[in-house]
Symmetry: C2
Subunit: 344 residues, 2 copies
Amino acid sequence: MKKGHQVTMKEIAKKLGVSVSTVSRALKDSPELHPDTKKRITEMAKSMNYQYNLLAQSLRISKSKVLGVIVPELTSHFFSSNISGIQDTAYKRGYNIMICQSNESFEQEKANLKTLVSSQVDGLLISLSRETKSYEHLQELYDREIPFIMFDRVTEEIPVSKVTVDDAHGAYLAVKHLLNQGCKKIAYFSGPTDLYISKKRKEGYLEALAEFGIPEKDSKVYVTDLTTEMNRKVTLDMLKEKELPDAIFAMIDPLAIDIMIALKDSGIKIPEQIALAGFTNNPTSAVVEPSLTTISQPGYEMGQLAANHLLDQLDDIVSDEPQSFVLLTTLIERKSSLKNQNLS
Amino acid sequence: MKKGHQVTMKEIAKKLGVSVSTVSRALKDSPELHPDTKKRITEMAKSMNYQYNLLAQSLRISKSKVLGVIVPELTSHFFSSNISGIQDTAYKRGYNIMICQSNESFEQEKANLKTLVSSQVDGLLISLSRETKSYEHLQELYDREIPFIMFDRVTEEIPVSKVTVDDAHGAYLAVKHLLNQGCKKIAYFSGPTDLYISKKRKEGYLEALAEFGIPEKDSKVYVTDLTTEMNRKVTLDMLKEKELPDAIFAMIDPLAIDIMIALKDSGIKIPEQIALAGFTNNPTSAVVEPSLTTISQPGYEMGQLAANHLLDQLDDIVSDEPQSFVLLTTLIERKSSLKNQNLS
């Protein structure tokens, strides 16, 4: 992939005050457009020295009928659910998928992108690695007009469609539930603070506290790198403090389960002494003792929606105009937080 | 991929009583071989009308530096561990990997193979779907001399290298452990009986019983399709029988956990009334209550070994002669089976 600025359809669209898909249709000589509009657009394209991207064009025409998918990791239940949703949808529509994982590495994400583009996939679905903080590789993909959309781990820097879940609202639901159980001192166990979901879920945590009249200065945040060792250490260190929380909201379920094990090992009763809630709804969370209250993220549905939207773009069923889809999360009440009732 | 018989290097090797890699070296004009040997081989190749596979050749020379991987499913912890092992190894050796999942479907496995071969991967690592009972697609790959090896779900029909775990021995270890705990009536909960691992693990189960003087007629096998619903139903039906087992060996951990939940719901004490052991060592198995005794399968190591062996073949570090690697499994003792001791 060589660099250097190329005039894009987006720039032509902006100059003329029309949509990118109108430009795209004009350059494809679509019969849907008025001849005058087509003429205006093709003349502008010519005057701006627009190079119709022949590679992207031939990709679209040749139709490998393959989508490329890049995810940070495959061992996560959430991402493997995304992939199942993508694959089932793609397969129904006559496409196969090839998957690469970045292993949370920026370098590997770039290598994955190169590999999939060389394989002439018709389009890509991308979820960013934890390390990805610059976006030239995606900008280049965008400039080359290779269709792609982003899901779950996205960036606002690139104007393509995005599918995410409402992280802040999910966290708000979990913390509000703990407050409704009578908990008053709720701690938030967070992953690395520069992670998008760490921030978003903290927002929801603070919002629920505020709603119950608890100011931010009375909030309590513990940060871990999300390794089992550090999750355990942070929990045991917390237990040495003078004043303990009466509830913990953990950013993700695997962290919640590490906290649960450390609390149980220290003789703390859950939920009586400390109530606990997570976020993700991994299968494990239903079978631990006590079963874990959590927020369900619709991973499979997210994959379905992302794949359907990309394929709709490829098939010109919808325009290439970027759209943002936000899926709702739901609270799943289980034993780890229910102080007032008995639930099986 | 078109069909039709092509003379293979293997057939030339057989005619001359030499190895496939000797034929391969002769046709590549390797300086390691004696000129007479080279002459003998190239003349035979000519007389048999051997078509040196230019596509495979160019693939080997062009070196996309990408390996293709096909697994039955990505949601399984075992296969995602395999992939991590493959990816880490490939990455260290300068290769990227593209992954396809067959979703346990024979048709999708064939489509995956076509997709990856079209993408000009340098080689493939394949684990078969549950449905795969004929092997023409693999035979064709073999005839086209595209390098590949198989792992975990393999077939003896195709003469390529294979990496597997010792399923029968692992099952033997689990059942022997239950017998050593004083259990005398051990039931085997099996998946569909035509699955390779159902058979192999049953062999190990029967072998352990035999060693303790229990004949096959006193064994007890329950079969499920491995869905959570049926796992639960089979367990609850078993509990209605007059005589209950004092231990259960479950073919895989997810089945063991479904059994555990059904037993607990029915008020059965584990391990006091019924001891329980699984096979896989999923992360969940350590955190359920009681923690699950299981057999550890070295999934990551299997991926490493498979990738290293394939890359060694591609780099001519080892010959293309098929080899079989069998990795050992180990017993992990946890609370669900320990009747005589206390373990944390």
